[in-house]
Symmetry: C2
Subunit: 338 residues, 2 copies
DNA sequence: TTGAAAGCGCTAACAC
DNA sequence: GTGTTAGCGCTTTCAA
């Protein structure tokens, strides 16, 4: 269906009886024209259905007016919301956001980023990548920003502090009177150690026990599969923290399927505050990591980097505890705790 | 941050002491070379960290080895899963998938697609677009496929049949003995009329009542906001069908918050079978529209179109009823129905 | 097996 | 206000 080549600037120039430079300037609104030329240009463009080829434009200007965003897993609502935020800000600034899914595979990241990079004016990468990829990104002739735990001063990184997020949650749970903690982590992610550290910083001084488990992917299905192992272990925790909401939801669901009462028999908490967490039973206690705002902030930083303006400060998203019923203390649980 | 320009083919040629044509052929593995040349090339490329600029390449070949996918709302797990499926197949075929979020705005589609199109070898659009955009897409010099209800033979469209999906659900609910139906639709989507039609085709002949409501966006939040209106209406339905799972989940959640027992007082069903539906309480009855498979199939069709091969047939995803507790008939509900 | 040269569609000096 | 021209980085004849 209609595979005719699309018209070029030359076609327009010919049809309008002007030079291609004039067409270019007209299309880019770079100056004013005589009424006659303007009319001819408008109708020629209209008739031909001409529109600029951004590739050719990029070749000469070196700009693409597109930003690339590579996410670990677009099916994770946290990342989907980061995309939302980033997209809004990009559009507001006249940029297009090109999203690429890395499918939780750091090893696949390199070729994906290599393909994405030249199509964009800047790259946002939602993970701490291996050193060789990081080096390669640093050598790039365009700004790069990371999503995640801010660490070093020489790279822009936007996200909540994983240690802080985990501590916040642990502190609350300790105050609630929980004493035997379980953490179901995802050791393949870089942030896992920090979340674990955040928990330990709170639990160890309090002399509280922490059992650590691991899932092979940070999804609800993996959480479900891990549930039996976690729940039927020697010394069952009285509260389980999932490394993210997805995992926590899977764990909690399977726990209920196995006959446990939540939160009476065992409590659950997650991290991220994905929309689903409100709708599960019981609603999941979690830490809001401001997914959408993170996307907005990282894109604002990116815009600043591109325009060589100083990076806007004070935008860092602040994690917030979201207390729901999955960690409610009940008469029964308090009695059991004795 | 190393903002040095990235090395070009000319840099490599110079360093290796060969012509740029030779470098090009080497990089594209188009022929064999003398050992000496090959060694020099390899080390030059290595040292410089050279990689092809796909933009420049596209300029001359006319190919980008990228496919564009514009989705209505990436935060909707249905679309996220379509992306997953499409991405997998694209990668298998050596293509990159570039995703763009249209934010549920058909009006914003045009500029977004115009920007995406020239960066890709083919476009997949997750919506029925307005006629002018459809015409514009048809005039494009590249294959276009749509996600949704297959309708016309002259455009590739992949998706489950919305009429069939809705009928399937209605038939089941009628068999279950429900008699007063409510449908909470999203009239701004093109598929809404078909879902409604599918319901009517089953309910009208059976002489069953159908009340229709509408949400302003197809999300759980909108579902929640609509709940009071739906539940407190004159003649309350005994089963409510959400136009998608997201809406149904919001409705059901708010119904429970308002003190209704689900499914005893009122039952709920959705459409899509997003992962969350399994985890809400009660688990949501829905129709699986094979989101991921839809993505795979549409990308396979796209690959075939690009290679000018006949489109693989018999791949159409078949919707499947997923029966869960949100529509379970109970003693109480049966009594009430009398 | 290698290289010279044309040109993809466009912009940006610069000249008129 | 308008046109001429030199490339952007690359592939692709075609000739050597």
């Amino acid at each position: 269906m209609g595979r005719q080549k699309r018209p070029t600037i030359r076609d327009v120039a010919e049809k309008a009886g002007v030079s291609i430079a004039t067409v270019s300037k007209y299309v880019n609104r770079q100056q004013s024209f005589s009424q006659a030329v303007e009319d001819k240009l408008r109708s020629a463009i209209q008739d031909l259905g001409y529109s600029q080829n951004p590739l050719a434009r990029s070749m000469v200007t070196g700009r693409t007016t597109a930003i690339g965003l590579a996410v670990m897993d677009i099916a994770n609502p946290h990342y989907a919301n980061v995309v939302k935020g980033a997209n809004r800000v990009a559009l507001e600034n006249g940029y297009n956001l090109l999203v690429v899914d890395m499918e939780e595979s750091i090893s696949a990241a390199r070729p994906l980023l290599a393909a994405l990079s030249p199509r964009t004016d800047g790259l946002i990468v939602s993970a701490r990548v291996p050193q060789d990829v990081a080096d390669w990104l640093a050598e790039l002739d365009k700004p790069v920003a990371f999503l995640g735990q801010p660490e070093r001063d020489d790279v822009t990184t936007v996200g909540t502090d994983s240690v802080q997020v985990a501590s916040l949650l642990a502190q609350f749970l300790v105050r609630q009177g929980f004493s035997k903690f379980g953490y179901v982590g995802y050791s393949r992610a870089a942030w896992n150690v920090e979340r674990l550290r955040g928990l330990r910083e709170v639990l160890e001084p309090a002399g509280l026990e922490l059992q650590v488990f691991d899932v092979e992917e940070p999804t609800s299905e993996a959480g479900e599969r891990a549930a039996a192992r976690v729940l039927l272990c020697q010394d069952r925790p009285d509260v389980i923290i999932g490394c993210n909401d997805l995992v926590a939801i899977g764990l909690m669901s399977e726990a209920r399927a196995l006959g446990f009462n939540v939160p009476e028999d065992i409590a659950f908490a997650g991290i991220d505050n994905i929309p689903t967490s409100r709708y599960v039973t019981p609603p999941l206690t979690t830490v809001d990591v401001c997914s959408q705002m993170t996307g907005e902030v990282v894109m604002k930083q990116m815009m600043a980097m591109i325009e060589d303006k100083p990076c806007p400060e004070g935008l860092a998203p602040e994690p917030a505890l979201i207390i729901r019923d999955s960690t409610r203390r009940t008469v029964k649980s308090k009695q059991l705790a004795r």
